[in-house]
Subunit: 321 residues, 2 copies
C-alpha cells in the first residue's frame, strides 16, 4: 500500500441527542470512533464546529493525513435532496433548509455526501453486513418510527422523490389509529417503539392482566416482560409483528426483495422476534414472491449509520455510479 | 449506414389465441408485422415451425438479410426463468417446462431473449412510449388479470424471483372475494376485466337499475354503458378505479415511481378513466411520494409486447448490462 493512497472514509451519523463519527477502512471495519452531543438547538453551524474538532482528533490518533481520506459521508434523520445535499426538513433535529453538503465542504478538505439514515443503514448491511450479495435488499429501521432503505445490486435505490422503501406508512393496521402523516392505520402506528407502547397502554387501560405498569412503561420493559411470558406484552409483540409481516408481504409483490433485515433500536432488543415475523411473512405472502426470502436481524447495531455513511465513498458499486 | 450492420430486431408477443411478430427498427418503429394463430394445443415445437415461416416472410418482404438482425425477443404470458429462458408455467397457454431460449436458438440464427409480457410492455413504454426518461416507471397491464412491469433507469427490474411489480395481488378490495392465488381481496378480483364483470353481475343480481344485461355482458359493453351514464356501470368503474388507485398509492411508498402507465386491453377501452384513477391516487397517497407523479394511459396498444420484445436487443440501457 502506498502511504498516501486515499483508502479511508469518515462516516457521521447524526441523531437527535448524539452524533457518532467513525473512521472506516475499505473493508468496512471501524478503525476508531467518537460520540459527540448533537446540541441540535444550537444549530447546524455550531454542530459543524463540534464535528471539526472530533474529526481532527480521530485522524491524529489514527496517524492518518487528510490526503488518505476519500470523503465524508453523513446520515441524517431527514427528508433531503441528496444530489444538492440539502435538508428540507429534519423533524427530530428541528433543522430545515440547510445546505449540508455545501457547508461541510467549505469546512473540510473532502467531498461530502449526505443521505437519510435509514438508507445508509441499508447500505451498511449490503456492503459489510448481513445483506452482502443479496439483491434487492430491504432493511427496516425500527425505532421511534419505521423507516426503510432499499439496495439494488449494491447501490442505494431512492425512487423518484427519495421515498422508496418508506414502508412505515403502509396501511396494514385494523386499529385505524391516526398517524402523524395524516392517514390512519399506518404500519408505524403499531409497529414502531411508539406504536408498541401505545398498544401496551391500550391493553392496560382495557384491563388486561399484566406485570407492566403504565407509569414506567418503556420499550425495554415491554420486551423484558414478553421474554418472561407476560401475556399483554406478548400480545403486543404479536400484533406489531403481524402488521410488520403483512407490510413485508406487500413489499414482496412490488420490490420482491431477496432478503429483509430488521434493524434499528427496537430490533436490537427483540431477541427472536424476527422468527415470528418471518413465519407470518411466509404464511401471508404469495408463495412465488416469498420463497427463499429470509427475514433476519440486521448485523450492524448502533454503528449502521456511520458504516453506511462511509460506504458512500468506500463501496465500489455505490462509487461506480 | 453500412448495409450489413445489425440494426433490427424481431419482437414476438405470444398470446392465448394469436401471436404477433414484428420487425422493429432501432428507434422503436415497427417496420412490418404479422399475426399468426398460436395453436397452443399443438405444443411449442409446432409453434416454432409456424414462427419460422412468418419470420422468413417478414425478412424477405423487408429485403433484410439475417445478418442485419441483432436478435429475437419473445414475450410470453408466463412465469419464467429469464436467465435460462425457461418457462415454468404459462397457464393461459397450457405450456410448462419448456426451454424457450434453447429451442428457439436451435432453429434461428440469432440470440434469443424471453420475458414476461407485462414486463415487455413496460420496457416498450420506457424505450419508445410514454415512459421515456421516467424512472422508476411502473406500467400496468389490465386485461384478464392485472400485471405489472417496472423499469429503472431504462432497464427492466425483475426483483429476486421475477415478481417485482406483480401488483395484481395487493390486498386492497373490501369485497374479500377469493382470488385464484388463494388469497382474498386481491386487486385483480375487482380491477381486471374479469373482476369488473363480476362487480357488474353482483350489482345486477342485487337489483341495481341498469341498461346492462347479464346474458350479454362484456367489458366493451360495460365501458360503453358507463360512457352513456349508466349508474351501475359507472359505479363498477368507480370501485375498480378506487382499488387501482389504492394499490398505486401503496406502490408509491415502496417503489416510488416517477410515472405510472395503464396499459392492456381494458385500458384501451377506458376513455378518461385514468383521470379519475390519477385523482384518487393523488388523494390517497402520501403527498411527498405522489407529488409530481402522473397516472397516464400507455402509448403502445396491442403492439406493446412486440415492441418490448425487440427492445431487449435494441434498447441501449437493456443491452448494456
Amino acid at each position: 500500500m502506498k502511504p498516501m493512497e486515499k483508502r479511508y472514509a469518515i462516516g457521521v451519523d447524526v441523531g437527535g441527542s448524539f452524533t457518532k463519527v467513525g473512521l472506516v477502512e475499505p473493508g468496512g471495519r471501524l478503525m476508531a470512533q467518537r460520540v459527540l452531543p448533537t446540541e441540535k438547538e444550537k444549530g447546524f453551524q455550531h454542530f459543524i464546529r463540534l464535528l471539526e474538532d472530533v474529526v481532527e482528533q480521530l485522524l491524529h490518533e489514527a496517524r492518518l493525513s487528510e490526503q488518505q481520506i476519500k470523503g465524508l459521508g453523513i446520515g441524517l434523520p431527514a427528508f433531503l435532496d441528496r444530489e444538492k445535499g440539502w435538508i428540507h426538513q429534519a423533524i427530530n433535529l428541528g433543522w430545515q433548509n440547510i445546505a449540508v453538503k455545501e457547508d461541510l465542504e467549505r469546512r473540510f478538505p473532502w467531498p461530502v455526501r449526505a443521505d437519510n439514515d435509514a438508507n445508509l443503514a441499508a447500505l451498511a448491511e449490503s456492503w459489510s453486513g448481513r445483506g452482502r450479495g443479496k439483491s434487492p435488499l430491504l432493511c427496516l429501521t425500527i425505532g421511534t418510527g419505521v423507516g426503510g432503505g432499499v439496495v439494488i445490486d449494491g447501490r442505494l435505490f431512492h425512487g423518484f422523490s427519495n421515498m422508496a422503501g418508506e414502508i412505515g406508512h403502509l396501511p396494514v393496521s385494523q386499529r385505524m389509529w391516526r398517524c402523524h402523516c395524516g392517514k390512519e392505520g399506518c404500519l408505524e402506528t403499531v409497529s414502531s417503539a411508539t406504536g408498541m407502547l401505545r398498544l401496551a397502554r391500550a391493553g392496560l387501560q382495557a384491563g388486561f392482566s399484566s406485570s407492566l405498569r403504565e407509569e414506567r412503561l418503556t420499550i425495554q420493559e415491554l420486551f423484558r416482560a414478553a421474554a418472561q411470558g407476560d401475556p399483554l406484552a406478548r400480545s403486543v409483540l404479536e400484533e406489531a409483528g403481524e402488521a410488520l409481516a403483512e407490510a413485508l408481504a406487500i413489499v414482496s409483490l412490488i420490490l420482491n426483495p431477496e432478503r429483509i433485515l430488521l434493524g434499528g433500536g427496537v430490533s436490537q432488543l427483540a431477541g427472536d422476534w424476527h422468527l415470528r415475523i418471518h413465519q407470518v411473512f411466509q404464511a401471508k405472502g404469495l408463495p412465488r414472491a416469498v420463497a427463499g426470502v429470509e427475514v433476519l436481524p440486521a448485523f450492524w447495531g448502533n454503528d449502521a449509520g456511520m458504516i453506511g455513511a462511509a460506504a458512500l465513498f468506500l463501496n465500489e458499486e455505490e462509487t461506480a455510479g
